[in-house]
């Protein structure tokens, strides 16, 4: 079952590959799709950002990938290959051994992942203890190292504190420390800076970049903030109503988007008006994830849509340079 790679294979093989992955949640009113047929790959040390607005499905995707929802409620189709292993249909025990060890996660609201009754040092220690790799002395040193990694000048002071004594930014840094404690290959960051002030956000993103370089960490970064992702991601995937519309290198995609949706999104980002001119938003509303729409889900709001766009499912066009567009009338 376990794929044993040679050192060179580990270097070149992508850490995470989603292949035709479809996720759906079983609720009282039946099956609600979260995402449909998404495919992307994250190389070692790469930061891949999934960008989406509300109704894109990005809120649930991290939890669904990590099977943080009960199995009975989640339906997974397609493949999700982590370090050569398909974990889409992995059982609970396998996922448990991966989570926190090979795959780390940080969420938007750090307070919900921190135990208010436990000292910080102990919580980080526990994150390692659970996976039983290091002994007590080694863990203690590691905690100190981790706290220094996330820029705490006085690590011994911080380990004695309780979560409520720290600010939001500090808690988020603790979360990062806990997530990378066991040197995972992949870090899933679900809107980690959305609740933080701009200056704290910059600090946290800088820490993440440094840790990526130091530990060759791959990151799956989920966000709604295009400018944030422009600055920090290597590649971007644009999600709209559960469908991946375009993927490509971050800066190239934002400067020259091929799909009308990211193009519209970029053009309505607020910036200084020239000569009193106005920018336009995108007309219309995001279709509900549960609403069945034949054809392209962006068609009702797209200025380039034609009848074929509404006819049937749009296939993804994979280009030679590794980019992908799901559009019949892409911009050149």
């Amino acid at each position: 079952m376990q794929a044993i790679d040679t050192a060179s294979e580990t270097e070149t093989r992508p850490v995470l590959v989603a292949d035709g992955l479809s996720l759906a949640v079983r609720g009282a009113s039946g099956l609600t799709p979260i995402v449909e047929d998404i495919s992307f790959a994250i190389a070692r040390g790469e930061c891949f950002a999934l960008i989406g607005e509300s109704g894109s499905g990005k809120t649930m995707i991290a939890r669904a990938i990590m099977q943080l929802l009960p199995k009975s409620l989640l339906e997974i189709k397609g493949r999700l290959i982590f370090q050569g292993r398909d974990i889409a249909s992995a059982d609970a025990a396998t996922m448990r051994s991966l989570r926190g060890r090979q795959i780390g996660m940080i969420f938007q609201e750090p307070m919900s992942s921190l135990n208010p009754l436990m000292m910080i040092g102990r919580q980080i220690d526990e994150a390692m203890q659970v996976h039983g790799v290091l002994d007590r002395r080694q863990r203690r040193d590691r905690v100190r190292q981790l706290l220094a990694d996330v820029r705490f000048d006085a690590p011994d002071e911080i380990r004695q504190k309780y979560p409520h004594e720290l600010s939001g930014g500090m808690r988020q840094r603790i979360m990062i420390a806990m997530a990378i404690a066991n040197e995972p290959a992949l870090l899933i960051a679900d809107e980690p800076t959305t609740a933080l002030d701009v200056s704290i956000q910059a600090e946290v993103m800088e820490i993440l970049s440094r840790l990526r370089r130091k530990y060759h960490l791959s990151v799956l970064f989920i966000s709604h903030d295009l400018s944030l992702v422009y600055q920090h991601a290597d590649r971007i995937g644009v999600l709209y109503s559960g469908v991946l519309m375009e993927t490509g290198p971050a800066q190239a995609l934002i400067h020259h988007p091929r799909h009308p949706y990211p193009a519209a999104l970029i053009s309505c980002a607020p910036r200084r008006r020239t000569a009193g001119q106005r920018l336009k938003g995108i007309e219309g509303m995001v279709p509900s994830l549960a609403a069945p729409l034949p054809g392209c889900r962006f068609a009702p709001r797209c200025s380039r849509a034609s009848d074929d766009c509404r006819a049937g499912r749009i296939a993804a066009t994979h280009n030679a340079d590794g980019t992908m567009v799901r559009c019949l009338h892409p911009l050149s």
Partner: protein, 265 residues
């Protein structure tokens, strides 16, 4: 011969506010939320107030609108003193200032129809018949881009951006002179933010409405506001025309704020 002075619409002088440390029950040390804040808002202008959490910008908004009392300072609107030393503060509804909030999901009562929401201010004030109220409600809803049939629907049937427009309608129906928008687009998607920002620009040009726009987002402020104040820890650290402050910040805090904001180059 003296040059006639253009009287600003709003004049705030030395506003101060301290929290905590009052009364026997409080264990918290007193914290100064606002320290000697003074500024003007010109008629028909949009003033941006930029700051992070703890800067005091939300406290300032609440003081301007009358939800909280200042500990010191004076406020004048259109030459009329709203609060000052030795006088009773003018109550909220009589100030001619209205406010819209950040969270579109908690700013409308889920049990009230849109029509009732927008009409509420008129009903509280009283003195108008049902038909006149209905007419004003319809007019105001049209101003923000809705048709009259929205009146019978409930907030949960609308999206976040639409709810913000309903909140704007609620504020406008009382014909305020100044509108305070407290992080009004921060909880909205980028594609929807622009609709609200453009609506505010329309209201400025069509109604001559003056607006104070509070935010932490430099890009939004750059798009919308004529002048900005930068606040940090209860004080105004820098002020001036938007483009000038953003392009040539003089205060170190402003500089660090602008540097920290992610941009698309």
């Amino acid at each position: 011969m003296t040059v006639p002075e253009i009287v600003p619409l709003l004049r705030a002088a030395s506003i101060a506010k301290t929290f905590g440390g009052d009364g026997v029950w409080s264990r918290a040390a007193p914290t100064a939320a606002l320290r000697d804040v003074s500024f003007d808002v010109a008629r028909g202008a949009i003033l941006g107030i930029v700051g992070e959490s703890g800067s005091g910008k939300s406290t300032l908004a609440r003081i301007l609108v009358g939800l909280t009392d200042a500990d010191a300072g004076t406020l004048e609107l259109d030459g009329r003193v709203l609060f000052g030393p030795g006088r009773r503060a003018v109550p909220t509804f009589a100030r001619g200032i209205q406010m819209i909030f950040q969270d579109p999901y908690s700013s409308l009562n889920p049990r009230m129809t849109v029509g009732a929401v927008v009409a509420e201010g008129l009903r509280i004030r009283g003195g108008l018949g049902g038909a006149e109220i209905a007419a004003r409600v319809t007019r105001t809803l049209e101003l923000v881009g809705f048709t009259a049939d929205a009146c019978r629907r409930y907030p949960h049937q609308f999206s976040g951006g639409q709810r913000q427009r309903i909140s704007i309608a609620r504020a406008l129906v009382l014909e305020p002179k100044l509108l305070i928008a407290d992080e009004a687009v921060s909880a909205l998607d980028v594609s929807v933010q622009m609709q609200i920002l453009n609506l505010l620009l329309d209201l400025q040009s069509q109604l001559g409405l003056s607006i104070i726009f509070i935010t932490h987002n430099i890009a939004v402020v750059d798009y919308l506001c004529d002048r900005i104040l930068v606040m940090s820890r209860g004080e105004i650290v820098e002020r001036g025309p938007t483009a000038q402050v953003i392009d040539h910040p003089t205060h170190s805090y402003t500089r660090s704020l602008i540097a920290a904001a992610p941009k698309i180059a």
